[in-house]
Structures are given as structure tokens and as C-alpha cells.
């Protein structure tokens, strides 16, 4: 595997933190998606899919965000929500990485892709 040039980082197991959760739902292979921040206590016990459905069905988005929502819904017609290559049925913390803002605030980040899996062959 000489072509693999990634640096191997030491894996640190998750320790439950009481921090906000940032969910980003990206349509297809877009680099950016719909970002939403959920306060601690509002996302526990729900699967990522359920959280995404809540986010997508909520109103009050800007026009720019609404366009992203439309793109996501287009992908989801016949597609699915994938989280780090897996189905999004698990809880957010299973897929989350702990990140820190420039101001030093910690948060969980979960990237979700709305994908129409393209079967090959």
C-alpha cells in the first residue's frame, strides 16, 4: 500500500461530552451543505436520520439554505442519507468527531451525505 500516504493518528475513544452537535447535510458530493447546530439535550436518543428529517422539515431557512434543501431532497428521491459510509440509523455520537471552534468551544460534528448510490457494472 505504498500509494496510501495518510498519516496514521492515534485513535482516541469517545468520551461522552455535553456539547452542542453540528450536523451538516450535504447533497451529493457537494463540499458544503446545510449546517445546523443542536443544543445538548435535544439530539440524544435520536438517530442521525431522524435528526436530519427534523432539520429538513423545519422552516425559517434562508433562500440560500432552501436551495441546498431542494438539492438534498432531489438526491433523497431514490437515494439515502449516509454517514461516514454507513446508513444513518445510529445515534449521532457514533459518527461524531469532537471539534473545537476558534474561540475554544467544543462541539460534535456529524457530516451526512444525501446520496443516490450509483450502482456500477
Amino acid at each position: 500500500m505504498a500509494e496510501l500516504e495518510l498519516e496514521v493518528r492515534e485513535h482516541k475513544p469517545h468520551v461522552k461530552q455535553v456539547v452542542p452537535l453540528v450536523v451538516e447535510i450535504m447533497p451529493g458530493q457537494a463540499s458544503e451543505g446545510l449546517l445546523d447546530t443542536l443544543a445538548p439535550g435535544t439530539y440524544e436518543g435520536l438517530s442521525v436520520r431522524e435528526l436530519c428529517e427534523q432539520i429538513l422539515n423545519r422552516g425559517g431557512w434562508s433562500i440560500e439554505d432552501q436551495q441546498i434543501i431542494d438539492d438534498i431532497k432531489r438526491q433523497l428521491a431514490g437515494g439515502k442519507l449516509l454517514c461516514r459510509g454507513k446508513s444513518s440509523e445510529g445515534e449521532a455520537r457514533e459518527y461524531a468527531t469532537l471539534e473545537v471552534t476558534e474561540a475554544g468551544e467544543q462541539y460534535y460534528y456529524v457530516p451526512v451525505r444525501a446520496i443516490k448510490p450509483q450502482e456500477g457494472g
Partner: protein, 386 residues
């Protein structure tokens, strides 16, 4: 009939060119039949042009308006027009027709519509942030850092292009005289009028291109220098997304890198796939290929520039931002999610239990499930959702 024979008699009347009716017994009978148009020898029609006229004992038929002919000449005879255009500019000291654009339309589509789709500008911790300015600052930084890519025209040569076309002397337009003409006289007039028309069209084109260029600079946050440099360098890569110019013409390879990713087989064993560029060329149909030497269950061989085998995908034939984005997405989706370990679809199966059409083995990509890259979450197994 075209170009008209120098000796061909023509009539210019009421804004139309009349061509002589070829001798045909049937036509002769028709025009000579009772009730047919009486031959008005003189005067020639001035306002309401008749379909047929007879002059100097010869029948003529209404054919075309010279002015309309001039206006559509570039569509009727595109090759002749292009030749005339080259001659026009060569006569003014240019090896090729100049352009008011530094960045071609195709390149502008790549820079303004395709790349931003794949390049991240938002900050995750602060939703909603990110802007075009950020992207352009990143492009500027990237270009300063990267020394590769060959330089094209000196961008400073573009100065003053908008003035071109006004440099030549204004040739007075000569009106086509009414009455009888020869094909040769018509050709002389036509060449002169075409030259005049061409000059006006070229001036209009340059003005339009300069205007478009100014709009582009505004869209790039005023970073004209970065835009010019980008056009000269002809290559850019940011966050694994980029383009390269193919050859000397206005064609490009647009790509996104896959990064390292994993696929699992039906036994749950994981195979790590190296980084490769999923690319679309603007030269032909927009079908995604893997540019590097690469192997994958959906590629027939272990070779370069292979088309990715995608079910039910009709590659767009015409270049457009949407078409390129769709093609790249389909290609990436196929590599990441397209191999179904249960069906073992594709040309080859990872676990050697299914069909194998080319003797491609993936054993060297096999890694332990607790490989640090997998455990550390740096590499995703992308087909584990089935």
C-alpha cells in the same frame, strides 16, 4: 450558382436581387401562358417587388435581399467568413483574431460554477459563514504557492484589446446600384460590404467580450490579477478539486480526487483504495474516467484513463456546469458506493468469488479491520451501508 459567375446578368430592383430564370421549356411555357405577368420592360419595380420581371427580353426571378444576405453571410458560409476574419486581422498585424476575454467562457464556467460546488468555504463551527471572497483569496494563495503550470500569453497583452477594430480606417459603405448588374460587379460590391460588415461585427464582439471580462472580474471579488494569472497558468487544484488545460485549444480536464477510501467484500474484509482523480474531459461526452492508473471492481483493467462503468448513466454530450458536476458526482458515487458486496457487481469482485473479467486482483489492497486508518476514522469504508 454561388459565387455568381462574373458574366451572369443580374437585376437589382426594389431592394432585391433578381436572378435570370434558367431556360426551361416548362418555365418558358408558364411565363408565356395567358394571364402570366406581362413583361414590364421599364421601369424596374421600385416599391412593390414582383416575383418575376422581364427586362431586355430576359426573364428574372426574385431571389434575395442583398442586405439580408450580408447579415447572414457568416452563417451561410462560416468557413469563408472565418477566412475573411483571419485575413482582416492579419492585415492589421495580428496572427490570429484577438479576444477581449482573458478567460474563455468555458474556463469561466469551470472557475465560477464547477469548482465552487466542490470547494469548501464555510467554517463548520460558525454556520452560515463563508463567501466568494474567501474562495478567491484561497485561489490567489494557491496560485502564489504553486509554481507549476506553464505560462500562456502575457496578461498585459490584453491591454487595449477593446480598442481594436476601431483602429482600421472607416471604409465608406458603397450602395449597390439599382438596375442591371453583372455577377462580377455584384461580387466586387459584396466583398466591400462584407469587409465593412466584418469590421462592425468584430468591433461589437470585442466590446461584448471586454464587458463580459469586466463582469467576471467583479464576480471574482475584483481580483483581476488572480483571474489573469489563472488563465495564463491553465491549471489549479484546491482541496483535491481542480482543472488542467488539455493541449493548446480551449479544452480542459476537470477532476476531483477520491482520497483514500475503503470498500468491504462479502466476508467483511476491507480493501483500501488509493487516491485517484475522477475526471471529465470537455473534449467529448462528459463521461467520468479515472485519470491515473487505477483498479477497481467497476474498471475493466488496471490502467490509465478508464471509463467508470455506471449503470443507467447517459453522459451529457454538451459541456455545461451541471453536466460536469453530475458526471463527476456519478463517477465518485460509483467508486465509493457502487460496488455491492452482496451482488458482487462490476467487472471483478473483491473476494474473487464472483466474476473476474480481467485477472485484476485486489489482494494487495486488503487490510486488517483494525487498521489504524480505519480505527482512527481517517478512512471511511464507503459501501458498508447495504
Amino acid at each position: 450558382m454561388w459565387p455568381p459567375d462574373p458574366d451572369l446578368p443580374l437585376v437589382h430592383a426594389a431592394g432585391f436581387i433578381y436572378l435570370p430564370v434558367q431556360f426551361d421549356p416548362a418555365v418558358a411555357r408558364e411565363v408565356g401562358a395567358p394571364g402570366a405577368v406581362e413583361p414590364p420592360e421599364t421601369p424596374l419595380p421600385e416599391a412593390a417587388p414582383s416575383l418575376l420581371l422581364v427586362s431586355h427580353g430576359r426573364h428574372y426571378v426574385r431571389a434575395f435581399r442583398p442586405q439580408t444576405f450580408l447579415n447572414v453571410y457568416h452563417l451561410l458560409f462560416p468557413q469563408d467568413y472565418e477566412r475573411s476574419r483571419e485575413v482582416f486581422w492579419r492585415g492589421r498585424g495580428y496572427a490570429a483574431p484577438p479576444t477581449g476575454r482573458v478567460v474563455s467562457r468555458k474556463l469561466a464556467t469551470i472557475i465560477f460554477d464547477i469548482l465552487p460546488y466542490f470547494i469548501r468555504t464555510k467554517t463548520r463551527g460558525r454556520p452560515g459563514q463563508g463567501s466568494t471572497a474567501t474562495l478567491w483569496e484561497r485561489i490567489g494563495t494557491q496560485m502564489r504557492r504553486s509554481g507549476r503550470g506553464r505560462s500562456g500569453n502575457d496578461p498585459t497583452e490584453t491591454a487595449g484589446w477593446d480598442r481594436l477594430g476601431r483602429d482600421g480606417p472607416e471604409e465608406g459603405r458603397t450602395e449597390l446600384p439599382e438596375g442591371h448588374l453583372t455577377g462580377g460587379q455584384f461580387r466586387v460590391w459584396l466583398e466591400q460590404a462584407l469587409g465593412h460588415n466584418l469590421q462592425a461585427r468584430e468591433r461589437e464582439r470585442l466590446a461584448r467580450e471586454v464587458r463580459e471580462q469586466e463582469e467576471m472580474v467583479a464576480a471574482a471579488g475584483g481580483q483581476a490579477a488572480v483571474l489573469r494569472h489563472l488563465a495564463a497558468r491553465r491549471a489549479l487544484e484546491i482541496d483535491g478539486v481542480g482543472f488542467e488545460r488539455l493541449g493548446e485549444k480551449d479544452d480542459y480536464l476537470i477532476y476531483r480526487r477520491t482520497g483514500v477510501y475503503g470498500l468491504r467484500d462479502s466476508f467483511g474484509r476491507v480493501y483500501l483504495f488509493p487516491d485517484g482523480r475522477v475526471a471529465v474531459s470537455t473534449r467529448g461526452p462528459l463521461h467520468p474516467v479515472v485519470w491515473e492508473k487505477y483498479k477497481h471492481p467497476l474498471l475493466l483493467r488496471h490502467a490509465r484513463r478508464q471509463q467508470i462503468c455506471i449503470k443507467d448513466f447517459q453522459a451529457p454530450g454538451e459541456f455545461s456546469a451541471g453536466g460536469v458536476i453530475t458526471a463527476l458526482e456519478q463517477g465518485l458515487n460509483a467508486l465509493y458506493y457502487g460496488y455491492n458486496y452482496r451482488k458482487r457487481n462490476g467487472y471483478h469482485s473483491l473476494d474473487r468469488m464472483g466474476r473476474d473479467l480481467g485477472g485484476v486482483s485486489f489482494d494487495d489492497y486488503k487490510v486488517a479491520k483494525d487498521h489504524p486508518l480505519l480505527v482512527g476514522g481517517q478512512v471511511e469504508v464507503t459501501n458498508d451501508f447495504i
